[in-house]
């Protein structure tokens, strides 16, 4: 995928937390993408959750890209949007992350990047994102994310699943390497 396009030395390197079964989530994602899950991955619930995460991100990224653009806003929408923009959209320099571009200076709103990462975690089975803080060193991001989990979700796999999702979303949706992901499970919820 597009990771090759990063400048050298920026691929996410980290102490990688395995899934509860001991497998590496990135490997499981790769096998799922290639359509060659092995014997263990086909039967293991932890690997199944990781594979579902991968399909979820794929669905989000590609479905959104394929959707037709919304029709032009009506007059009222235009006015309302302009007013809201006036009030809320003044970006401060500290709210911006640098994007790698050979074609000139490129930046991305930090709150928008955090919203994207929270969104992909929200779409994972049994997980909801609460807060997401992003720091940048060079181009690489450090992400600190707090999540709540559905009661019964295997907490031992949460770190590996969320980390893999955030790293993949950084690569695919933002285009910026994620070097570090700190995950805190702050609460549990029960589905009725």
């Amino acid at each position: 995928m597009a990771l090759d396009a990063f400048p050298p030395g920026l691929s996410p390197e980290d102490q990688i937390e395995p899934l509860a079964c001991g497998r590496d989530a990135a490997d499981v994602w790769d096998h799922a993408a290639d359509g060659v899950p092995d014997e263990h991955e086909r039967s293991c619930p932890h690997c199944a959750a990781a594979i579902a995460d991968a399909r979820g991100l794929d669905g989000i990224v590609h479905r959104m890209a394929d959707e037709v653009p919304p029709p032009p806003p009506s007059l009222v929408d235009t006015v309302m949007e302009a007013v809201l923009n006036t009030v809320t959209a003044e970006l401060r320099p500290q709210d911006l992350l640098a994007l790698y571009s050979p074609a000139g200076p490129a930046r991305l709103s930090r709150p928008a990047a955090a919203r994207v990462l929270r969104h992909v975690v929200d779409r994972m089975d049994g997980m909801r994102a609460r807060s997401c803080r992003i720091e940048q060193d060079g181009l690489a991001l450090s992400v600190a994310i707090t999540v709540t989990a559905r009661f019964g979700v295997d907490l031992a796999s949460v770190t590996a699943r969320v980390r893999q999702m955030v790293v993949a979303a950084g690569k695919q949706a933002l285009g910026t390497p994620v070097a570090r992901v700190d995950i805190t499970v702050v609460d549990l919820w029960e589905e009725r």
Binding site: A2, A5, I60, V61, H62, R63, M64, A65, D66, E67, V68, P69, P70, L75, T78, V79, A82, V83, N85, T86, A89, E90, L91, L96, L99, Y100, S101, P102, A103, G104, P105, A106, R107, L108, S109, A112, A113, R115, V116, H119, Q172, A173, L174, G175, T176
Partner: protein, 121 residues
């Protein structure tokens, strides 16, 4: 001999038009002044046509122009690739139309997460 000078506004309009045509760009986001002018224009019934420079500004000096663009992207388009695509499209379009050498700064101010619902109810 005569010399053609191209104004800031011309470059901004060409840049905005080129940027809006890049797949994954939902809209350009106006800055404070442009937003207020836009509101005034709407109230007084002024059309803001396809050549609106909202979200783009440019400074021309000699044969060189610096363009700043603020865009809203759609989730699913890689932000880094989108920014580079906007820079390339705008550089090419402004150079082709005005002959100026251009530096393009792109800021992705927002990423649209929820698109229109696909399909009917």
């Amino acid at each position: 001999m005569s010399v053609l000078h191209v104004g800031d506004r011309v470059v901004a309009r060409v840049a905005a038009r080129a940027a809006r045509a890049v797949p994954g760009v939902v809209a350009l986001r106006p800055d404070l002044t442009q937003a207020l002018l836009g509101i005034a224009g709407t109230v007084f019934g002024q059309e803001r046509g396809p050549l609106s420079a909202d979200g783009a500004s440019a400074v021309v000096e000699g044969g060189h122009a610096e363009v700043s663009l603020t865009v809203v992207a759609r989730l699913g388009h890689n932000c880094r690739d989108l920014a580079a695509a906007v820079q390339r499209a705008v550089t090419a379009e402004v150079a082709a139309y005005t002959g100026l050498d251009v530096l393009v700064r792109v800021t992705i101010a927002d990423v649209l997460i929820e698109g229109p619902r696909s399909g009917g109810p």
